[in-house]
């Protein structure tokens, strides 16, 4: 056994460190089109103290560490580009605290979205968190680390805006707390201490988030989804503006896709509503579908497809089977809502040029402040040509997002390069200083956000 493996085994136990080809193979892959790169070690710690000791060891040995949550970023952000330790954090899965009255949850970094949803449904039925459109294995910490969004994005913004506090193992091994918890208080607020937001959006290049305090929100007794459809994509920005003006919805998503063919070219808007009583639900339904969207129905420009009670868990992974090929990847970008028509048209062109059924979607963030627009490209994992096509389409879409005035969300290496080429030089200089200060040995997820 090599001495690093031996040292890792002392820290996490022999069963939780592997250099076997099978583990190295699996942890070398992202689920999207990113080329695999093998780690040297796969390690699954259970505690913050174990993470701290692993980071110390990695510094001594100058070995890269790549933290991994649910592994669902689909942008290759957890592929160990320069080898080293693939750090699977999913064993750290304790829900430490839920404060009913102050509406927050403190969780370890491996807690999944599905786990928190189930826990709240059982123990705190009046509370919910903003669950992203990812499979339930996506972790809370991984999602805030990449500025994810969820089904409460319309009223409350990015999930990373919902962070009350963090515990982070710094790249040099110190364990730091941020937010009210840093002064020994409860984990109820991130402000008003000096802002040290150095970890959200950095994709694990500035430290390993080990605990998160996340804001929770009222969960009403009745939940459901209303669907509205239009044919003219030019109407979407205006419709979204009007819906958000009502302040009555809690998730607004517009999408269009080639499959099934009869719906191709149509734009569906799903509007999640919640209410504590039939009276409240009736009021919101009337406000949105009669008062706000009624004129589109009367003019024949739009149609109300109905309201279904209950929320379904995201089924995004079904997209992977469209080519019966087990793969898809998407470019997500944070875009102005008014760009929806261009995003749709240009994205559809890219898909069709690469012979991929088009899928586009815009989730509203805030009161129409922005949308996360995604262009999804399915591929067949067994057909290298389709992977190449998808990769090309993704790169073209990264270019498109910036051309249309957007910002790429959780970019992969290609998109990061585009962003860094355009970023304000002084901002880049500051990022370099931050990175050099925090991670002098350059061990944290190297290859990603390479500013040094």
């Amino acid at each position: 056994m090599d001495h690093v493996k031996e040292a890792l085994a002392v820290i996490v136990g022999e069963e939780h460190v592997s250099t076997e080809p099978e583990e190295l193979y699996i942890y070398s892959y992202d689920l999207g089109t990113t080329e695999p790169r093998r780690p040297d070690y796969a390690v699954a710690p259970r505690t913050t103290e174990e993470v701290r000791r692993i980071v110390e060891l990695a510094n001594q040995e100058k070995i890269p560490i790549v933290p991994l949550g649910g592994g669902l970023s689909l942008a290759g952000l957890a592929v160990p580009l320069q080898g080293g330790i693939a750090l699977d954090l999913k064993r750290m899965d304790t829900i430490i605290e839920v404060s009913e009255k102050a509406r927050y949850a403190v969780v370890e970094c491996g807690v999944s979205q599905g786990q928190l949803t189930a826990y709240l449904e059982k123990n705190h039925p009046n509370l919910m968190h903003s669950e992203p459109g990812a499979p339930p294995q996506a972790t809370i910490a991984g999602n805030v680390a990449i500025h994810g969004q969820g089904d409460l994005a319309q009223p409350y913004g990015f999930n990373s805006d919902m962070v009350n506090g963090l515990e982070v193992v710094l790249p040099t091994g110190e364990v730091c707390k941020f937010g009210s918890c840093a002064v020994g208080a409860n984990w109820y607020t991130q402000h008003p201490l000096p802002d040290v937001g150095l970890f959200l959006g950095w994709a694990g290049t500035t430290g390993i988030i080990t605990k998160v305090s996340l804001k929770l929100y009222p969960r009403k007794k009745i939940q459901g989804v209303g669907q509205f459809v239009v044919e003219d994509e030019e109407l979407i920005p205006e419709i979204i503006y009007r819906i958000t003006h009502t302040e009555a919805a809690h998730d607004v998503v517009a999408f269009s896709q080639a499959i099934p063919p009869f719906a191709s070219g149509l734009h569906h808007i799903t509007i999640n509503l919640s209410a504590d009583s039939e009276k409240e639900l009736d009021f919101k339904m009337e406000l949105i579908f009669d008062d706000t969207l009624g004129e589109y129905i009367r003019s024949g420009d739009g149609g109300f497809l109905g309201f279904n009670r209950g929320l379904q868990r995201p089924q995004i992974s079904k997209t992977a089977d469209w080519r019966k090929g087990g793969g898809f990847e998407y470019v997500g970008a944070i875009m102005p809502v008014e760009t929806y028509p261009q995003c749709y048209r240009r994205g559809r062109e890219i898909s069709e040029r690469h012979d991929i059924p088009y899928t586009v979607l815009g989730r509203v963030i805030g009161m129409s402040h922005a949308m996360m627009f995604s262009w999804t490209y399915a591929f067949n994992r067994a057909d290298l040509e389709t992977i190449r096509q998808a990769r090309e389409a993704l790169h073209e879409t990264d270019d498109l997002a910036l051309e249309l005035g957007g910002t790429i969300w959780k970019p992969g290496i290609y998109g990061q390069k585009l962003v860094l080429e355009r970023i304000d030089p002084n901002t880049l200089k500051l990022m370099k200083k931050v990175k050099q200060l925090l991670d002098p040995n350059g061990i944290m997820n190297p290859g990603n956000w390479e500013v040094s």
Binding site: E15, H16, S18, E20, P21, E22, E23, Y25, I26, Y27, Y29, L31, A42, A44, G70, G71, L72, D88, K90, R91, D93, S112, G114, Q115, T117, A118, Y119, E121, K122, P135, P136, Q137, R313, Q315, I316, S317, K318, A320, D321, K324, G325, G326, G327, F328, N380, R381, A382
Partner: protein
């Protein structure tokens, strides 16, 4: 191995590895894949397995002992098929069994699996105990030999040889007798049903065993079978018809339910206790029978039936399926699925963890002891609960 020899070469790449396969129905944790719960490395999840099979097929990785172990930690619990949202999900178990078959054919199986299969071939049971001792479980009680009665009571390997499971086999015999059921057993003439042999990928041996059993059953005039084990129930019901063995098959909980509902079994004496029921995979997920055991327990006055948080199609496997009750790849840890399940049962506040499978019985009783919970919760077979409720001595 070549792509052409693997039946699922054209579909195995369709796994996206989204991770649904790890969850129970209520999404409470990612531990509902027993092997993933035990090791918590992606390789041990269903998706990890499918990706590794594909990597082996395409020569991206070579066969190793570790690869074989990863495949054989699969307990065939079918949680993955239940949870996978993609259309190819109906073939997931077949894909894993097929790769085990390839390993069997090429002699690339772990030593524990080899022992299991060799013991079956030599002695007709996985333990390697003498074939002649198969009927010893009947000693001390009056159990009729099968001679054309209405039902063949088929006990299986675990019920025939495992000391604790033998008790349940005897108890069920008493209950059937008390209810006046016309039945008989094969005793020392009984052979292994082969369900686990099939799950371990030894298809040829399984076919031989199935054909021998079918021949024997037919020669004896068997038409109806009641099984102690859901594993036997599964293979008699679903696999034997492919070998010309068309019998009317019942799991014993279905038979007891009918006897109670038909007022042939009087459970009115009752039992004042709190019971949590653990769904066996080969009764539940494999065959959709969730209600019969619950109907029995609900019919007994005084029993408060509580549900484990993960139940029915979302139940956590005991970790004993796919031969793991013998190979024990998942044992030896607080994270062993049986120990997790024992803790979950204790959390319900139940006094009794009810099981309907001899494999689950042995796995969970050991787990309760390993957790130090033996003074707090008893593991009992449903037949044992019924005996108490009927007052049979």
């Amino acid at each position: 191995m070549t792509l052409t020899s693997y039946k699922y070469a054209d579909t195995i790449h369709r796994c996206f590895r989204c991770g649904y396969c790890k969850f129970p129905t209520n999404w409470a944790d990612v531990n509902n894949c027993p092997a993933y719960a035990r090791f918590r490395m992606e390789t041990y999840s269903c998706g990890g397995r499918l990706w590794l099979i594909r990597a082996w097929l395409s020569n991206e990785i070579e066969w190793t002992d570790h690869l074989a172990k990863i495949m054989y930690t699969c307990t065939a619990c079918k949680n993955c098929e239940e949870k996978c949202p993609l259309r190819f999900n109906v073939d997931i178990m077949n894909m894993i069994t097929a790769v085990k078959g390839e390993m069997v054919e090429r002699g690339l199986i772990p030593s524990q699996v080899k022992d299991f299969l060799e013991n079956i071939q030599r002695q007709g049971n996985p333990y390697g105990k003498a074939r002649a001792k198969r009927g010893e479980w009947t000693e001390g009680i009056e159990i009729p030999k099968y001679k054309g009665q209405d039902f063949l009571y088929y006990v299986g390997c675990v019920g025939s040889y495992d000391t604790r499971a033998q008790e349940t086999a005897r108890t069920l015999g008493k209950v059937l007798t008390k209810a006046g059921v016309s039945f008989g057993v094969l005793g020392g003439e009984e052979n292994c049903d082969g369900n686990e042999v099939n799950a371990l990928g030894e298809e040829t041996l399984f076919e031989m065993m199935a054909e021998e059993n079918v021949t024997q059953f037919k020669e004896l005039g068997v038409q109806k079978i009641v099984t102690l084990s859901p594993h036997s129930y599964n293979t008699f019901k679903n696999d034997y018809p492919l070998h010309d063995g068309n019998f009317e098959v019942f799991h014993y909980t279905q038979a007891l339910r009918d006897l109670i509902q038909g007022e042939r079994l009087d459970v009115s004496r009752g039992l004042n206790t709190r019971v949590a029921y653990h769904d066996p995979c080969f009764l539940g997920r494999w065959n959709g029978e969730y209600d019969a055991p619950r109907m029995i327990l609900n019919a007994i006055p005084g029993i408060e039936l509580v549900e484990l948080e993960k139940n029915r199609a979302g139940a956590l496997c005991c970790g004993g399926g796919g031969g793991n009750f013998y190979t024990d790849f998942l044992g030896g840890s607080e994270s062993s699925p049986a120990r997790i399940r024992a803790r979950e049962a204790y959390d319900t506040g139940a006094n009794i963890l009810a099981v309907a499978c001899p494999n689950c019985m042995t796995m969970l009783e050991d787990a309760v002891k390993a957790e130090g919970l033996e003074d707090k919760i008893d593991v009992k077979d449903i037949s044992e609960i019924v005996v108490e409720a009927t007052g049979i001595a």
